[in-house]
Symmetry: C2
Subunit: 302 residues, 2 copies
């Protein structure tokens, strides 16, 4: 979504507030998958085969780890490891995640301002629902990567949320934005951990009239990942109507795909203005036109 916006807005006018609930400490390293995926994508260096990590990767460190029987389910390429080495060292020196993120983004000439929602420790925790694992709580990455989100979930919790304060520029970015875009991400585990940080939800509620969300659900299925399945397991309707209900308190507008045009009225009934357009950015030309819709959902103003 950020790449789409950059087709129609100069990078220096864009701020991205990113989820850190997916972060993990592994092998002694502080790993921030969402921050890195945004950075690598905007740098044009994302690995096109995996959708994460860097292109041109080698895997020698992980092969060593495997030799010792170490943890290898979270794949770390050698180039990518360099990012985690740098981040971990800087944080050990006392730097905040916000500053380290800016340093890394600058090194890749990313252009936009990329802000982790908090410098404090926030972790998305997932409680499993079935079989021997029922009631067991695991980290987001254990759920998402190790188990390939192929397990039933009972609940989601954001560990540390009660003590997590927004990063130094986050609330001002919300207040000063001409337009706030809630990307087509998983509402339960990508957007909600952002909202869980103290004051962020309230600031977004106050900015509701400037905010537009893009539905991650098209025709009852997630664009990618477990968004639809998770919504259903957590008791929400896995459709644009369920998304509308989720986002109505913080967004005035919900962009839904043409495939869901027949649900526009039901979306409106949830108290959020539907805008119907093509949203699947893997199709050519869609990204820029979606970005234009998102920035001016009621069409060009006279």
């Amino acid at each position: 979504m950020i790449a789409a916006l950059l087709q129609v807005v100069p990078a220096d006018r864009v701020t991205a507030i990113a989820n850190v609930g997916d972060d993990l400490e592994l092998h002694g390293l502080h790993i921030s998958p969402d921050l890195d995926t945004i950075t690598y994508t905007l740098a044009g260096e994302i690995n096109p085969e995996t959708g994460w990590g860097l292109r041109g990767e080698s895997w020698q460190a992980m092969e060593s780890v495997r030799r010792y029987g170490g943890i290898d389910w979270f794949g770390l390429g050698d180039r990518d490891i360099g990012t985690h080495l740098y981040r971990t060292q800087r944080m050990a020196e006392g730097a905040q995640l916000t500053n380290v993120t800016a340093e890394i983004a600058t090194a890749w000439t990313v252009g936009i301002r990329l802000l982790p929602v908090t410098d404090d420790r926030l972790r998305t925790m997932v409680t499993l629902a079935e079989g021997d694992d029922a009631g067991r709580e695991i980290s987001f990455q254990e759920y998402f990567v190790q188990r390939r989100h192929d397990v039933a979930v009972r609940s989601v919790r954001f560990e540390g949320a009660d003590k997590a304060y927004p990063g130094p520029e986050v609330l001002a970015a919300v207040e000063n934005a001409d337009r706030i875009v809630i990307a087509p991400s998983n509402p339960a585990v990508s957007i909600d951990p952002v909202l869980a940080v103290r004051g962020v939800r309230q600031h977004l509620e106050a900015a509701r009239h400037r905010s537009v969300a893009v539905s991650p659900i098209v025709a009852g299925a997630a664009l990618k990942g477990p968004a639809a399945r998770l919504m259903e397991e957590l008791g929400h309707e896995p459709s644009v109507v369920g998304v509308a209900r989720w986002y109505a308190p913080i967004a005035a507008t919900l962009v839904i795909d043409e495939a869901d045009a027949d649900l526009a009225e039901s979306v409106a009934a949830e108290g959020i203005q539907p805008v119907v357009t093509r949203t699947i950015m893997s199709q050519p030309g869609v990204a820029a036109s979606l970005a234009r819709v998102v920035l001016e959902p009621n069409g060009p103003q006279p």
Copy 2:
């Protein structure tokens, strides 16, 4: 020296007690250069060009670190990083360095028992002697690698030595050894930090009659590294006589090179029995014969 011993003794009869004063935490990783160099060497996987790290290395992680302007003076190859990732994760899980070292050695089928002298934190600290840096204390690796031991030293200190207890098998290994060999290492920064761990020096003193040291100084120069220079800066004579004085309390015998044959009497005057032989193991055939001398310094017993 260990490799030399293995030419004449079965690996399962050899225990190596290793220095951990050179260890460092960098990029969030626990790095144990001495343990790794022993392991990689015995595995036949040491990088022949550098004398440290693994052969067949790539350097992608360090190139990433460099992109960010991170710390790059301590070279870490990608394969080698895998070792540190594994060690750091295991220690974060609560494993002791002794156990992790054994796991890593087993993965490389090293054969000998390799024991870090302590599981506690011990760090060799070096106080500089000259110029603007006079009085400044830096870590061993900052001295050895970052400054290439090309600075004058005023003193050496072993941080944590007062609270460092021997690893679980260390003292018994000293007590039960038929022969204790003090390798031709830097006495000030490689052997002394081992002796600094609580009880180790006393146990070595008690086992003095079974102990033989090999001089790291030949004809007044160090075989490698800053041993001679450091001895002089710390107020010791940089010769086999200075080495004799250093080791006389803990070893009955000192093996010196033929180049120092004329100093044998002065060595004996320090209260340690000199044995003159060829000691420079880079020459063919020397290693095995040196190992035989070290194991039976008075010649084959009848």
